[in-house]
Symmetry: C2
DNA sequence: ATTTAATGTGTATAAAATACACATTAGTTA
DNA sequence: TAACTAATGTGTATTTTATACACATTAAAT
């Protein structure tokens, strides 16, 4: 059931025909990635007739014996096979008619993963990375959920070292700046950016130089190990 | 049913005996007030045996035909008769065993209300204001919910004019500062506080003076009308 | 008239954010 | 091998924001 993309719809139809209708609980994951100087989000083709042709976020019903956080973790694991993911709860969306098959309250999480270092489990070619800036319309209220999570990420990114989840182990300051520019959707001054990052002391100078660049190579850095732990947010 | 304090328990017992157990959805409201230079929170005596003697937040199951935001609004309205309340969603708590009667995922909201200008609907003397700083133990995971919401309020308070919900229409800068000190649980420098507030331009000088004080009276201010709207958060 | 308990106000200093330019380096190409 | 290209690496001046701190003034109470 876990790997059946039709699980959500099927379960909802059953629920919505029960005499005493109750509220279903789901989680939706806004999974951000970074590729080609561009912030991406992982979307799946909607399996609902109402939304045919539209993409939606990855989500699923929460199981009765599963913590809310654990459900979002499961969804990520199913699709990316990642164990040690960064996941953070953002907001819960609970309008009565937000789901056409019945009443579903959904809690949105966002996640950051390194696209290159993990293969997706693509089933039926339904799952793909999309440029965040090109997304116009999504199924359900998922556009709003995406925007909420993006705003949240933009706020978080200069305060905490969450970006490390999008970076390779070793990277130059230019590469790091490009990730920030993609997330914030605005260019940054190189000298001021470097000053800000230096103040945070998140990085370790590797005393190695870039390679494979057709210009003067930059120094390579990595995040200090103490900033690499993800874990869950404490609450669930 | 809405005004029956046993509603929550009764409904949950019914749910938990259904063959196909599903997840119940509730909201819990952290209702902050301000009195005697002290930040208060509105608590109700828990009606569960497991938590006898303990207080809990005001909460209720969300009805199938009710938006999530609307549920929190209803709970406030039932108990305070306030229509135009400030309410903001903070976090959703969804551990499997957080509720002893069954699986309940709850979304926490916080609210700020002016204690003096509204009578509570106290039923059976079960509902009371408590000093936030004195609270040791609450039913369920409500202590954690309270702490999460308090942290959220503390963050919000210097950025947005939410405090107006705790203030009388007219107030002196000293009174305003006392509210900030109660929320932040730390003393503030008077000159710097006034400078910060002045920069925000939230206040209107009323050209009136305090009264009924046994010392030099201060000027009175009010929040500019455009900062008084509450409404709901846009999402639900 | 004196005491009390507050109000109202400004400046100096430190810290943080911003704007901005040039010499250096390695690879590529003519 | 010289010149070109496209990047790296770096510092200072300016503005803005945050902080620390003290004294004359006012109205009421005694």
């Amino acid at each position: 059931m876990a790997n059946n993309p039709n699980f959500k719809t099927a379960a909802l139809e059953k629920i919505s025909h029960l005499e005493y209708f109750k509220i279903a609980v789901s989680v939706d994951c806004v999974i951000f990635g970074y590729l080609d100087k561009d912030l991406k989000v992982l979307l799946i083709q909607s399996d609902l007739e109402e939304f045919s042709g539209l993409n939606s976020l990855l989500g699923d019903l929460v199981r009765p014996d599963e913590d809310l956080d654990a459900a979002s973790y499961r969804i990520l694991k199913e699709r990316t096979d990642l164990d040690d993911v960064f996941l953070q709860q953002v907001h819960t969306f609970g309008k009565v008619n937000r789901h056409p098959s019945g009443r579903v309250v959904t809690t949105a999480y966002y996640s950051l993963i390194n696209i290159n270092s993990h293969k997706l489990k693509i089933i039926d070619n339904d799952l793909n990375w999309h440029s965040v800036k090109n997304i116009r319309k999504l199924a359900f209220d998922h556009k709003e959920i995406l925007e909420t999570c993006l705003a949240h990420l933009q706020q978080e990114v200069m305060e905490t070292p969450v970006v490390h989840n999008l970076m390779p182990e070793k990277f130059s300051l230019r590469e790091l700046q490009e990730v920030y520019e993609a997330i914030l959707a605005s260019p940054l001054d190189r000298r001021n950016f470097r000053k800000k990052i230096a103040v945070k002391q998140w990085l370790q100078d590797l005393n190695e130089m870039e390679d494979n660049v057709s210009h003067r190579p930059g120094k390579l850095y990595k995040f200090k190990p103490k900033y690499l732990k993800n874990g869950f947010s404490r609450k669930s």
